[in-house]
Symmetry: none
Subunit: 406 residues, 2 copies
């Protein structure tokens, strides 16, 4: 059976911008290897979730891997928490958090405490406390990011954010999103935890020093994206493929782990534009001795688009393209390249536009499309598909689909 | 109103094969008439059931004719049985069977008894017996094939096959597929029937003679594909079209009959590549004096693809194409040409790939597609549709669709 290398170039899709010749970054990029793969493979355009749905990365990934988001999505917190290395149990509630700066009245001064680094000590100070009967675990992500897990009886994930997502206003009180006692209870724990984080953190010498240096102190952990943990049916169970994830950023490791994939470490991957893509590709190719399916996530294009950096995104695509050279001559390998959503450089945000997809393998279709970009792939043989269609197509290309009827 | 000629070229779709110029048999074939019809008509590409679904012929036909397979599919047995000429009643359980060869310990030696012909006498010997309170009918199909119908109270169709689908192992015991008494009862009847078939057949002089001649004796009837008979809503009821089926092979006659179509006899049709396609086309055209809709099934391409015979499939397509000449100048006729699934010559099996479809009529659309093949039709005006979409399009082209809303 062929192996599958499934590459998601996060936020790769874009909208054309007049100032750049009416092209998208992908259309503007010089990318001979992606174009060769498109020429030799079959292409199409994909709505990651559905037409008109503007997806977050988590939702988009789940859909593309064949999980029904109406059943299997339960907030972003759990995905981040797993990605940061926390072990979750069914019934836990997990949240994402930022080390941030507030004043004495809890008005937000900076949502990222000046993009503080090295907050491991702060995360440890908050880890392991108990509020009422709920145990609370905190684990550092990258930079100012952390995950928070609540464990105990009677929790609910449907609660609102404490993080107000803007500065110069007071932090929000978490509230139940549906009228229920469990939600009220969970929100009260979260509110107490955030207040406690302020009491602990604001006293820290590290923060006092930052104030003296004119830096923002990391004096609170602002949380958002709560979700109750439900164990997903595993990728192995669904597709009978032994799968691993290679990703730099926590969320994507978390998505892989929650699908039961092994998260493989690869050196010098950062989840940012400076990541070492060559190492990721090498890591994937060497992992095939142990796995049938490698999910390879590359974040950079999304980060640059969210900064509105058209040329940076174009150059990052060119960097990724160069790293794909070792894939061109591979046999017995089904290569899938797509993205989880469009991130518009112009809007600095996700949009609902469809995104290009290519699938290249031995003895499957190819089509007349010679360039891997949004508009070229719209003429491909696969047509306009949805995220949920991708895995069934792959399973059939692998020869693993069941005959229905006789 | 226009008449409809709906031609299903079974297993017509294929995957491109490198050794044959990266073409599919349909792309490689010289087929001026199909290409003319595609040029004059509207084209598209169709997933017979859905994206990623690898359908059997029965399921695919039902979907294309607008039947919801989740409600209306109940195993292949009933379709074969009806096709062989057995009259079924609601509540019957029908199975397909092969006259086969086993040794004294019921190990399978040959699943088709050396592809024995002229088994009519053997089928008659098994026909009409009673086991417990269940009456059993057996009718010969083509060659080694037969259908078995169980009639009586308390039967269930969800039982497993006796035919192990391989040689050198013992025949299977039929078992209920869901835990229920009716299933247990039905499986027990089937197991008794198969044992009885051995007792009767192994004693036959015809078989003793075959053994003497070094041929495999047809000493058992191995059954599979059980299904409980549910009467389908008729094609007439669904679409208000008086319809007939022209098909050589039993399954397709059965599909037509179960939809309430008349099965029209046409001379020298065989359900194989040697069938007389000219006669089928002539038969269809002359039947329009009595019918609104003719379903015309041509099996050959599928048989050749299952044998891995690329050139044979290409030549059969060319043979069919020549027979289509009389259709080119027809007026007041909506011509639909498609297939029920891809049968890959390379894999010798069905795949889930989408298949081409053309619809040609007066005063409907045409498009820029000039060739009737998989990849050309993917650029057609109809786009990428599903089997269930076909009949609603035809009904609208006939001017019979209802206005929804006001």
């Amino acid at each position: 059976m062929n192996k599958v290398l499934f590459i998601i170039l996060d936020g790769l899709g874009d909208r054309p911008i007049k100032e750049f010749g009416g092209k998208t970054p992908l259309e503007a990029a010089t990318k001979p290897n992606l174009d060769t793969l498109a020429s030799e493979g079959v292409t199409g355009i994909m709505y990651p979730v559905d037409i008109g749905i503007r997806p977050g990365s988590d939702i988009a990934h789940l859909s593309i891997f064949g999980y029904d988001i109406s059943k299997h999505y339960f907030g972003r917190g759990p995905f981040e928490a797993v990605g940061y290395g926390l072990e979750l149990k069914e019934g836990d509630v997990a949240l994402r958090g930022n080390f941030a700066t507030v004043d004495d009245n809890f008005n937000v001064i900076d949502r990222r405490a000046g993009r503080i680094e090295n907050t491991e000590k702060l995360a440890k100070l908050l880890n392991g406390m108990q509020i009422d009967k709920i145990k609370i675990y905190v684990k550092l992500g990258v930079g100012h990011r952390a995950a928070v897990v609540l464990r105990g009886q009677g929790l609910d994930g449907k609660i609102s954010d404490v993080d107000p997502h803007q500065v110069n206003i007071k932090i929000f009180k978490s509230k139940p999103l549906v009228n229920c006692k469990r939600g009220e209870y969970t929100a009260s724990i979260v509110n107490k935890f955030v207040k406690k984080s302020y009491q602990i953190l604001s006293k820290q010498p590290l923060n006092k020093k930052r104030v003296e240096q004119g830096l923002y102190p990391a004096n609170i952990l602002l949380v958002r994206g709560a979700g109750k943990v439900i164990i997903l049916p595993s990728f192995k169970e669904k597709y009978n493929l032994k799968a691993a994830a290679i990703a730099g950023a926590g969320l994507y490791k978390g998505i892989g782990k929650l699908m039961g994939m092994d998260a493989l470490p690869v050196s010098r991957t950062t989840g940012k534009p400076d990541t070492n893509v060559d190492n990721k590709i090498k890591g994937a190719l060497s992992a095939f001795k142990n796995y049938d399916f490698i999910y390879l996530h590359i974040k950079g294009a999304d980060v640059l688009a969210e900064d509105g950096n058209f040329l940076g995104k174009k150059e990052f695509i060119e960097k990724v393209d160069r790293s794909l050279l070792p894939l061109l001559k591979k046999k017995n390998l089904l290569i899938v390249i797509t993205t989880d959503h469009t991130t518009s450089c112009y809007l600095k945000n996700h949009t609902a536009d469809p995104v290009p997809i290519l699938i290249k393998g031995d003895n499957i279709y190819s089509d007349e499309v010679k360039s891997f970009d949004e508009r070229s792939c719209a003429a491909g043989f696969l047509g306009h598909i949805k995220g949920k269609d991708v895995m069934p197509i792959i399973i059939d290309y692998l020869g693993l689909s069941k005959l229905i009827g006789g």
